[in-house]
Amino acid sequence: MSGVVEAWLLTLAAEVPLVALVYPGQRTRMAAACALGTTVTNLAMNLALPRWLGAGAAFLVVGEAGALLLEAALYARVGRPRDLARALVASALANGASFAAGLMLFPYPT
């Protein structure tokens, strides 16, 4: 399995349950939104962004910051009622957890 697919699956596994947890009463809806949003941001980050920014710290920070903000925006838009604070919490929790999981599982290329 390619590293990109592994990273995408790991991200989904880490983020979808956490986002669902932050939205009791609309877990299925938010889990679906998370799966969709995370797929777009994760694949864009790993497949497109390196072409512009290389593979260094700038790529990492820009990609993760973009994912955090765009996913928060998505959750704020899809959640009922619309709530930016809760969306920010959900996105920060999910992205922080998936990033930490990635650091632990893929510390360096082999």
């Binding site: 920014l53 290389g54 593979a55 990492l60 928060a72 925006a73 959900a90 360096y108």
Partner: protein, 206 residues
């Protein structure tokens, strides 16, 4: 999402984007490796004459043990006149290996990555009677190289642009600052969100 929120998100993302957005990058610098049974062919791909028969040794490292050998000068002509000749490594036991020059390529900033080694897996069990080509002395053991270990030299030497990891693993110390910044950003966003939720609850009680 409301209009102002969308604008805020776009402005925040745009603030992080580089001033110079680059076009598509050139062919990566690295190695094209192919396996047929127990024979591995390593074609350096750098747009230069560097290749089999040159001054720099081509190494093969066993991923499992770290044991490293220098390949013999046993070559195959490159089909590309702009590339050096390929190394042919015969009678390679089954296993996963890294192939790369003892001296890594210089970073090519306009290429889609510059690679230190290429990893390949030989799945065919080595025939005990495997014979190398006449005149091929076979590989020579050398000191193990620090490939694929933290701080020792990751697969990527440098990415497109200016991310140069010549002396570092691409996920080693070179990205420690970036990783810290990402975790800090996530923590700040979490604190902001929790703070907003608390303030709203406090206002409701008041």
């Amino acid at each position: 999402m409301s209009g102002p929120t969308l604008r805020l998100a776009l402005v925040a993302v745009a603030a992080f984007l580089p001033a110079e957005v680059r076009a598509n990058c050139a062919r990566p610098v690295g190695y094209d490796v192919s396996v047929v049974a127990s024979t591995v062919t390593v074609q350096p791909s750098s747009g230069s004459p560097a290749g089999c028969g040159g001054d720099v040794a081509m190494l093969r490292q066993d991923v499992a043990s770290g044991a490293t050998v220098a390949l013999a000068t046993w070559c195959a002509l490159s089909p590309d006149p702009y590339e050096g000749d390929a190394y042919v490594d015969e009678c390679v036991p089954a296993g996963t290996y890294r192939y790369g020059f003892a001296e890594p390529f210089a970073c090519c900033e306009t290429c889609c990555g510059t690679y230190r080694y290429e990893k390949v897996t030989v799945t065919t069990a080595l025939d005990p009677g495997c014979q190398r080509g006449e005149g091929n002395p076979g590989p020579t053991p050398v000191d193990p190289v620090a490939w694929g270990v933290p701080m020792g030299g990751g697969e990527l030497i440098c990415g497109y642009g200016h991310a140069d990891f010549t002396n570092l693993g691409s996920w080693g110390c070179s990205t420690a600052a970036g990783s810290g910044a990402v975790l800090l950003l996530d923590a700040a966003a979490l604190a902001l969100g929790v703070g907003l939720l608390r303030r709203r609850r406090g206002a409701r009680r008041g």
